[in-house]
Subunit: 303 residues, 2 copies
């Protein structure tokens, strides 16, 4: 099982385009203490040749340019790509906007829950993916799908609908757990297994049970503290209001998986405000001490 | 008048993500004879401090990262950007998808024709640009608007609606000339003037008159020959069918502006198949001999 972290930042990437906080400022200046990061996406493969994208970030073109594995094969057709499928975990812009860059008549399969497909279908701009060429396949929670030699099982996690779908006050900030946000279990025939959860509003027993024993957990590291955006002066919403459980504090992810027998735990989907982005920071040392790794663009995991 | 070409390629950029033609292959391999290019966008400024984007390409985040002028001011607020406005010339994905990356509560003005605004409004995903923060302003053809110290005048050019809006057979390939595609005249108080036309299906007298005498014309260089995509085996549509007059052949752009008294003529919006992308090619020499320049990412023009 080959895993490449294409983008390890949350929506907007690191630095966000209009962000002038201390960490972003370091990133704009090319400081060695921080590494810029593109938006949330992971590629997985059973053989190193056929790849499946987990979410399609707005930075997908840059991510393909950075990874030879995802580029056309020189001895393939005039149009070819090793990308066989895209699996979406929710309808957030940072996970779906990259679909707009996967035009040009390459056949692939697009997997998502029926709800996420419905929101894509309601946006005519996604018609650039011709349905005669790109198959849109609805997944049911807790059923398994074999995609490019990998067995993927979507499971519900506490989450929320994408902000742009919050038409209705009643769903604002709701932790639906009904498939608006999913996690993915990815398993090889040889029983290697990763769990991918880029967004999770709360960690309950069902989530812990679902990922227990995995060779690797890629987990929502959006914010270090729940009030981090407000504390930095760049937002009002808490992490949880955005659908992301914080790393630290009551109910945080830092120690939540301590009994889950995970071989590796890696934070992904890291927001521009999160202090773990700074090498050698107290926050980075804290998560490493607790057995976590801090994901970065280009991180490669072979299981 | 400061002009920066942020992205000089057509939709999909150069190379396109799944393209394995000769030129793309050179680009994937990092050959010196070609320079990779991001998607179609230009930034203009009257003072070098406040900038206006002409179109918002999917590569906007990468383009901001490549241009210090477009990054937050270190001595500005926690969220700040020199980008004051975005002006759209049509509703094509390569011109609008970047709007999805201009979230995060930065006030700017979005100018487009009423038709293009309507297509954005019909796509709820663009709600990520909160209308309380991002003003959507409809422009009328041939009226002038002062935007960040520059006077911009949209004018109609023969074009077509975006492919994803082609619901109706009757508009497919239609050269509407009704504002579905516009050009922009940009003028300083000191009467410096550029004309920006990234998409144009045919060059008629009205277009020539409109740009005559400009200090610089940035013009649609999508295809070198009308049948280039089919000839390369990577598409069926002609340049004109996609809304782009070819450079060469009957009615082409190469000599069309010879009597327009233009100080500079630069091709932009160059498709992955266009042979002018190769340094030293016969096609490149031909356009240079005819008085044109080949636009590239990072090209800077000061008038």
């Amino acid at each position: 099982l080959f895993v490449k972290i294409l983008g390890s930042a949350a929506g907007g990437g690191f630095p966000q385009w209009n962000c002038n906080t201390r960490l972003s400022h370091l990133a704009w200046n090319g400081a060695n203490s921080v590494q810029p990061r593109t938006q949330s996406s992971v590629a997985v493969s059973s053989d190193g040749e056929k790849w499946v994208l987990l979410n399609a970030s707005p930075d997908i073109r840059q991510q393909i340019a950075a990874h030879k594995e995802l580029q056309p094969q020189p001895d393939g057709g005039l149009r070819n790509s090793p990308i066989q499928a895209v699996v979406l975990t929710n309808g957030d812009v940072d996970h779906v906007a990259g679909l707009l860059s996967l035009r040009e008549r390459h056949a692939f399969s697009l997997y998502a829950t029926a709800d996420v497909h419905a929101s894509l279908e309601a946006n005519t701009i996604f018609k650039v993916l011709n349905p005669a060429i790109v198959s849109r396949l609805a997944v049911n929670l807790s059923e398994s799908y074999v995609i490019a030699g990998l067995t993927m099982t979507p499971f519900p996690v506490p989450g929320k609908v994408a902000l742009y779908l919050e038409n209705d006050e009643s769903v604002q900030g709701a932790h639906t757990g009904n498939g608006a946000t999913i996690g993915l279990e990815i398993r090889t025939s040889g029983d290697r297994r990763i769990a991918y959860i880029p967004g999770c509003a709360a960690i309950n027993d069902a989530v812990i049970d679902r990922v227990s024993g995995a060779d690797c957990l890629l987990f929502d590291g959006t914010v270090y503290t729940d009030t981090e955006l407000a504390d930095a002066g760049v937002g009002e919403k808490t992490g949880r209001r955005m659908g992301h459980v914080p790393i630290t504090g009551e109910g945080g992810s830092l120690f939540a998986f301590d009994n889950a027998e995970l071989k590796r735990k890696i934070y992904i989907h890291i927001n521009t405000t999160n202090p773990i982005l700074e090498n050698g920071s107290k926050a980075e040392r804290t998560v490493i001490s607790a057995g976590w790794e801090v994901g970065f663009d280009g991180m490669s995991i072979t299981l």
